[in-house]
Amino acid sequence: MSFAVPSDLEKEIDDRITHYPVSKRSAVLPVLHALQHHFGYIEEAAVEWAAAKLELEPIQVLEVVTFYPGFRQSAPGKCHIRVCRTLSCAMAGSYELMDKLCEKTGIDRSGVTHHDPIAVSADGKFSIEFAECLASCGTGPVCLVNDDFHEAVSDVDGLLSQYQ
């Protein structure tokens, strides 16, 4: 499938770049966010598109993409779940929450590595990864599903039913 940026997205990206009048390079994060938000992940063609847009070398954009765990280089599921595993949530049961979410969505995390942290369900509906602190340490365990924030998650079935 060839990579093409729709004109309204490009317009939005061009607008974001204008917020950084001194150096286009500074706009690399907002541009990547916009691309990931639209496409769900940042493929190689997107890296090259962003580099051309910002007058950078592709390797300079790839450096940024690989630095932030928030940027994905492969396609996630329709609903992407991030489970917090930092101290408070870990103590409040985030690992159990992860296991339960995997069980209910049928996700196999055995192939997950440091460089490839995301696991996707066979039907492509759900994907999951651990995240670092989501800034709600008093209400663990917490998780993000797409852009929705869920605190003190105990009812996994109820949570998932909102995204079926």
């Binding site: 070398e57 592709p58 390797i59 790839l62 450096e63 630095f67 440091h114």
Partner: protein, 570 residues
């Protein structure tokens, strides 16, 4: 400080006061004061990101008086006391300030170095016994001087890609990489081919070539030279020889008129490696891969090792005496107008002076050299692929080298020219003489390092030394006189071209008292006005400007501009 010294700044380094120009980096001030500051990422020809932290030093400035307090009193030399700052500063990216104090020997500085070394070694493989860099590795050297001697790290070392093919000439071991980023900056800033970068930054940082690309530009091997560790290694040199066994000889590159300064590494008459040698007037710290790797022919099976004489159909081995006597016989009955001498702009000035003597002695009526023009690459490679065209112009007095070649061909065709002496040139392959045309000659003598089609049809073939097997001087494209130094002995009975020409002159009845290449240089200083008053020693390792040519070297011009903008030290 007095008025006329106002652009100089006084800095105290390890207790001693020194003066440096304003804008000098702390690390350069220390170097000029003879104080070494260990470093990995800093390179004077590249920008300074300050990321290795090895050059941390203790720094101080005069104390600032509190409100109502008297300012500190200067001592009899005008220096104020120094109040040491309780945190270290990197010496590579900071410039000096008036009355600054730098302490590279303090407990804090030593502690910083120890800490940086411990962190760098935590994940560094201890494979020095099989690492090509061992013996010339900054990490090894600073471990000896500043390391702890033992590691407190008890965990598993991080696994990273090994034996990665990053380009046609280079291999990468990411576990050995200490993330100094010199190679990244070189490919970006000097080679204009920014394909390298750090991905997965953090504890798993890896040096990466952008997917689908390779590090293949013609300057890529310079990254191997500036890599402070064994992360980047040259495919041509890796595992060939331990560096401490090799002899280093300073000489110059002869693949183009730039005459890049090089160090040739050899052991027992075999060359293993060539690296660029710093000369800010010629090649900075760099050289092209194509020139660097063009040395393997020196040990080719095609090397001529003995003089050869053609008896009718075939060549047979001969002694030098026999070959020279045969040549003298053949030349004896000829008029000067029947003799052409084709010399080479690959010859040294000394060889050219002897050639000029031969020309005069024989009264040769036709003289030229073979040109080699290519494309300049806009970096270091000159369009003129001959190393000593300027020497040819000065010493043989040829205003337009190469312009007589066609008329020499015509002369042979018409039978006017009966003998050709082709010194250090292969006329068939490099000057478009056909073997058939050369077959018309009564006498063809050639000297060359390798067997070649011209030698095939020559009556006398004399084996000559290659560029690494002889000494002399050459004049580069900018008019700089530089020394070519002998690295190894030539194979078999080869002689340097100046010896061959000297012996030819003697065999044909001319006498001279020349026993060494420096004898000829002395005569050059007496016979060629541009050389007047020079001595062999004066040329030194870096050469001296001899003539004005108006030519510049593009890469140097760009570096000068970057120095002027304060981006690099230079």
């Amino acid at each position: 400080m007095s008025e006329e010294k106002s652009d100089l700044i006084d800095v105290q380094i390890n207790g001693e006061w020194h003066s440096f120009p304003k804008g000098t980096r702390m690390i350069e001030a220390c170097r000029q004061a003879g104080v070494e500051v260990p470093h990995y990422c800093y390179h004077p020809k590249l920008t300074s990101p300050g990321n290795c932290r090895m050059c941390l030093v203790e720094m101080g400035m005069p104390p600032r008086p509190r409100p109502g307090e008297d300012p500190p009193e200067p001592d009899e030399n005008g220096h104020l006391p120094i109040s040491w700052i309780p945190r270290p500063a990197i010496a590579c990216a900071n410039t000096i300030a008036p009355n600054m104090g730098i302490n590279t020997e303090s407990a804090m500085t030593e502690e910083c170095r120890k800490g940086v070394m411990e962190l760098l070694l935590a994940n560094h493989p201890l494979d020095c016994p099989i690492c090509d860099q061992a013996g010339e590795c900054s990490l090894q050297e600073f471990s000896v001087e500043h390391g702890k001697g033992e590691s407190r790290f008890r965990e598993q070392k991080v696994k990273k890609p090994k034996n990665v093919d990053v380009g046609p000439r280079i291999r990468l071991d990411d576990e050995r990489c200490i993330m100094c980023s010199r190679c990244i900056r070189f490919t970006d800033e000097i080679a204009d081919d920014p394909v390298l970068g750090f991905t997965d930054r953090g504890s798993h940082t890896v040096l990466t070539v952008y997917p689908g690309h390779e590090l293949a530009n013609n300057y890529s091997l310079n990254t191997v030279d500036i890599c402070p560790v064994g992360a980047l290694t040259s495919n041509d040199f890796r595992f060939q020889m331990r560096v401490w066994f090799m002899k280093e000889t300073k000489t110059i590159d002869v693949n183009c008129a730039t005459g890049a300064n090089v160090t040739v590494y050899s052991r027992e008459d075999k060359i293993y490696r060539i690296t660029p040698r710093q000369n800010n007037d010629v090649n900075s710290d760099w050289m092209p891969d194509s020139h660097r790797l063009n040395f393997h022919w020196i040990e080719s099976d095609a090397r001529l090792t003995d003089p050869l004489i053609c008896d009718g159909e075939n060549h047979r081995l001969a002694t030098w005496q026999e070959a020279l006597a045969t040549s003298a016989d053949k030349l004896a009955g000829l008029e000067g107008g029947e003799i052409a001498v084709i010399a080479s702009a690959r010859m040294t000035n000394e060889e050219l002076l002897m050639t000029n003597r031969l020309i005069k002695h024989l009264g040769a009526g036709h003289v030229d050299t073979v040109t080699r023009m290519g494309e300049a690459d806009g970096y270091l490679i000159s369009a003129d692929r001959n190393p000593n065209t300027n020497g040819v112009k000065l010493i043989l007095g040829l205003d337009d080298p190469g312009s007589q070649i066609e008329s020499i061909k015509e002369g042979i065709e018409q039978g006017r020219i009966k003998a050709v002496i082709a010194l250090q040139e292969n006329l068939v392959e490099d000057a478009d003489f056909s073997a058939e045309l050369l077959g018309k000659l009564d006498f063809l003598l050639t000297s060359y390092p390798l067997a070649n089609p011209t030698a095939d049809v020559a009556h006398v073939v004399l084996p000559s030394a290659g560029w690494a097997e002889k000494s002399g001087t050459m004049i580069n494209v900018t008019g700089r006189l530089q020394r070519l130094n002998k690295v190894i002995d030539g194979p078999g009975l080869t002689l340097e071209a100046w010896e061959i020409v000297r012996d030819l002159i003697q065999a044909t009845g001319g006498g001279n008292g020349i026993y060494s290449v420096t004898d000829i240089f002395t005569q050059l200083t007496q016979e060629v006005s541009e050389f007047e008053g020079l001595t062999w020693g004066q040329i030194g390792d870096l050469g001296i400007p001899l003539i004005e040519t108006g030519e510049t070297i593009p890469l140097l011009e760009r570096e000068k501009e970057r120095v002027a903008r304060g981006l690099i030290v230079g």
